[in-house]
Subunit: 336 residues, 2 copies
Amino acid sequence: MNIGEIARRAGVSRSTVSYALSGKRPVSEDTRRRIQQVVDELGYQPSASARALANGRTSTIGLVFPPAGNHYTGMQLDFIGSVVEAAAACDYDVLLSPSGVDSDRSFQRLLGERRVDGAILMEIRLEDDRADHLARLGFPSVAIGRTAHAEDGWFVGLDHTALAAACVHHLADLGHRRIAFVNRPEQLLRSGYESAHRGLDGFTKAAAERGLTVRTYCCGDDPASGQACLERILHDDPATTGLVTLNEAALGGLYRGLAHAGRHVPRDFSVTGVVANRWAETVTPQLTAADVPAAEMGRLAVDLLVERLGRPEAPPRHHLLVPPISLRASTGPAGA
Amino acid sequence: MNIGEIARRAGVSRSTVSYALSGKRPVSEDTRRRIQQVVDELGYQPSASARALANGRTSTIGLVFPPAGNHYTGMQLDFIGSVVEAAAACDYDVLLSPSGVDSDRSFQRLLGERRVDGAILMEIRLEDDRADHLARLGFPSVAIGRTAHAEDGWFVGLDHTALAAACVHHLADLGHRRIAFVNRPEQLLRSGYESAHRGLDGFTKAAAERGLTVRTYCCGDDPASGQACLERILHDDPATTGLVTLNEAALGGLYRGLAHAGRHVPRDFSVTGVVANRWAETVTPQLTAADVPAAEMGRLAVDLLVERLGRPEAPPRHHLLVPPISLRASTGPAGA
DNA sequence: TAGCTTCGCCGAACCGGTTCGACACAGCCG
DNA sequence: CGGCTGTGTCGAACCGGTTCGGCGAAGCTA
């Protein structure tokens, strides 16, 4: 069931079969038909490995994301799904690599063993050794997220600074004066996790601008931590009337904490943040939030990567998205 | 940066380098060290394509799941994560394939082009053309889920019949007499989706056994559908006091519907079902449910597949899991 | 009909590994 | 010293495709 077998049965040479199938050189209509018939009959499909070896392209892209130790979030799922789908549309397969760092064995397999033509990096940090490594190598990659010095790179990102600021302004406009920020876990913040940093930044600056009293918290990626965090918030400043969060996994816990404390949302307390809309719509009342357009970002990342693969010397491009805040039911005027 | 280059620099033949690295034939300690030094110096790693071509193994497994049209659920994410991680531990990469049916292009790529050594199938249907196809071909695969005639196959599954029945018994023990079943979307049920069928089955049989009055519903995989579904339930039979669900994505909507209808959980209404624990713990009150051990199932599937790849003629093995119901806070005595 | 182009196909080399058979050399025995 | 075993290495073939240069036949012009 290899190309030689096809050639033999069709009474032509191997190269002719190759050309007939790829169309890279003209082949007479007659032979082409004969070959095609044999191919159909035997259900022949060329071996991916052989093809990859011969022409140096694997038709596979790598999707690099951190190991599951830290829970996966819904956002990541949407990324993965949309990346796979967009890649399939461009005739690329997707190889998953659970890699934290550039020295990681799994990461080395992707690159060193040349299993993929390009890579998409998730969970970017401001100083990202994987991104730097790939950039040094000139290896085609696109980041989902934006490093500190991203201006000359390929990425699709969310403007977390602007989004967090928008949330603050939204609360301030409603009259809230004392609000809290619920971030991702401290470990992620310390390791330079992009969204955590920029979100915190945008929150802090905007709050200062509006003269608000704020407290900021890190919170584990799970409901129990969310509940505990909310208790801390109300303990530290019982007069707090609103919060902004980036932590979707903790969201349910935050709501539970509010319910336990007897604070009604949105009458007594407003909640908003940056969250995938599947989560925003799951909680009751539904969350007013900047919806993370994860599916769109995945698609854009693939488009960018495919473009880069097609024209290796193309100048870097990127998409920086600033989705609007979707007004739902979790925020209201302060002191209502 | 290929094996020839290494051989040249180390002053040996290509085959010697190959043997030194693979250890498949003895090489003198002296040459081995010299070769290793050159390898380290140049950071050489053999090309995956070339190796795959030569020895017929790609060291990659395919993870086949349906396209994203239908939302991804949290369970799927946990599967994917644990599969990738378990595979990495066995030195396998994971190739994602968004395939619905066996004639699908993406599915054909995996198999026909021999991109993977084996496959793990998600989202199994009772009559599954992909599973049948692979079985006919003798292609090494493991299903996550159990077809109608699974006894002679490789799979890791959840005993949805038993789990749904356990939920019914739990409610019946608490004194509930009129309960509802909230299934996955009708389209999935019609297409023979395994968990939807067996779950419905287990529910119906157990309810009959206990002499309960029941109604069963299909419900879209999103909160809005869940809310609508709950309204229908209370409209059809206002005396309903409990429900069992398999639909995690709708869960938030079900709760919201109950709140809108003024039914307090668990005082006026009990909710239970089969759900990944990340969801069970997110809602308030936390859901008493059979937690889907998605991560464990992913791991087991990889173990099974690796075993099958290692011994092609091994007899089929499987794991059928029946996780216990985790008592949380969403169920209580009827008429309390 | 000689000479030139065009078309269609073939053979060979190559991609980068793995593996098999053979061979040179050393050490041991009789 | 001849023959025998065992160790370490090499060369060549192979995996299954792609691609390049060239060649023979057909068609056209002079």
